[in-house]
Amino acid sequence: MTTSGIAPSAAPPVARLIEAFHRLPGIGPKGAQRLTYYLIRMPRQEAEELAQAILSVKDRITLCRTCTNIGEGGECVVCADLTRDRSRICVVEEPLDVAAIERTRAFRGSYHVLHGVISPVNGVGPEDLKVRELLERLKGDQVQEVILATNPNLEGEATGMYLQRLIAPLGIRVSRLARGLPSGSDLEYADDATLAHALEARTRLDEPRPEPGEE
């Protein structure tokens, strides 16, 4: 979309900023205008801090050389933490998935970020993901388990099955996150696959639950 198309009557610098916001994911033309006019009213110091924060992310952030997560100076926070269990690798699609799992505080292992998912209809194959880097990490005998935490949809499952097929010959245990009913949901609206998975992976209430990461 052109600048004049979004804000035909705005001054050129304003129109340029509206267009820049509009290119961001999830921001439509109205949202882009709201953000722009909010910034115009913002004190100069705050605007400078925001601009500096954006530039600093672009200048200092790199992919972690071990897990390809977002990090600084070639290393992410998790890989820099010497107390993490390096024998377990949790494979996720995106850096945001690392943040989601970290919020649970239930996993003390390390991660590997694929930066996408195999999507045949969109022409995204394994060579477009960080699969080669994952296989490099599995050389040697340090890693005992790979936990596949791709999204529970067709493309996430296909990616998981593909990785499982690659890793199986290495003799490393491959597991994946359990599927089932989300907390706070309504059984009536659950789809057949979710309900079937929940039934298959049902748990006994008269046995103590294992701690995360226990055999």
Partner: protein, 252 residues
């Protein structure tokens, strides 16, 4: 058929329907774990959708699964073939263009794929039926150029001319030609009339089967004037061992 994340937790969907062809619509909040829509609107699911009209796109208000094709989600080759047939069906469809036979063919193929012991055979059958349904059935009885009856010998297939060429007519012309041996032509003829059951049962020599696949794929690419994206991954998972990373997965 396809989907894309939009907004905070919404999805934009491309849905194939019997009476409106391809429909683009949004499913609000579908990415949230407790969404009532999320589990039903994954790729390759047969569902009943209720749509509410929006300003530019329709919104999904209710959805109920008719078949989730669960077996496709636990078998890599079946998932890949499923993606391939779905992409073909989408490419032969247009927004707003009703095509109930194509929709029925797709649902029937995905259903058969679940229990199929030979997913690749099913893909060949689907390709031929789709060509037949769309009016592009290739000429396999006589030379497409001179009309001479084809002898039991190796020939070539011309996508541009839509059929087999005899040895005399293959000379000259700028067409891209794909070899088609006698066994391949016989198998292609069989596919024109075979149902899913017969395709599963028939034994075809490996090279004839692969050649038939190359003929159909070249012809489909010509008819669609577009490459078929999902073939790359389908070829990758059909290889044994998985060759792209074979150096890295060899034990020791």
């Amino acid at each position: 058929m396809r989907q894309r994340d939009i907004g905070e937790a919404d999805r934009l969907l491309w849905v194939i329907t019997p009476d409106r062809g391809i429909v683009r619509c949004t499913a609000r909040g579908a990415r949230k774990p407790a969404s009532k829509l999320g589990g039903h609107i994954d790729l390759l699911r047969h569902v009943t959708l209720s749509l509410r009209s929006g300003r530019s796109l329709d919104h999904v208000s209710q959805v109920e699964t008719i078949s989730g094709f669960r077996e496709l989600r636990s078998d890599l080759v079946k998932a890949s073939v499923g993606s391939y047939v779905a992409e073909l069906a989408e490419r032969f469809s247009v927004e707003g263009g009703a095509n109930p036979p194509l929709f029925r063919l797709l649902v029937s193929a995905l259903g058969r794929l679940e229990s199929s012991a030979r997913p690749q055979s099913l893909a060949r059958c689907f390709e031929m039926r789709l060509l037949s349904l769309s009016g592009f059935l290739p000429e396999l009885e006589v030379c497409v150029e001179c009309g001479a009856r084809l002898a039991e010998s190796p020939h070539v297939f011309s996508s541009e001319r839509g059929g087999i060429l005899c040895p005399q007519c293959r000379v000259g012309g700028g067409d891209v030609l794909v070899p088609a041996g006698a066994g391949t032509i016989k198998f292609l003829r069989f596919l024109r009339t075979a149902d899913w059951d017969r395709v599963e049962r028939i034994g075809v020599p490996g090279e004839d089967f692969r050649q038939a696949g190359r003929v159909l794929r070249a012809y489909l690419r010509y008819v669609l004037d577009h490459s078929i994206r999902s073939t790359a991954f389908l070829d990758e998972v059909s290889r044994r061992p998985v060759s792209k990373f074979v150096d890295q997965v060899r034990p020791g």
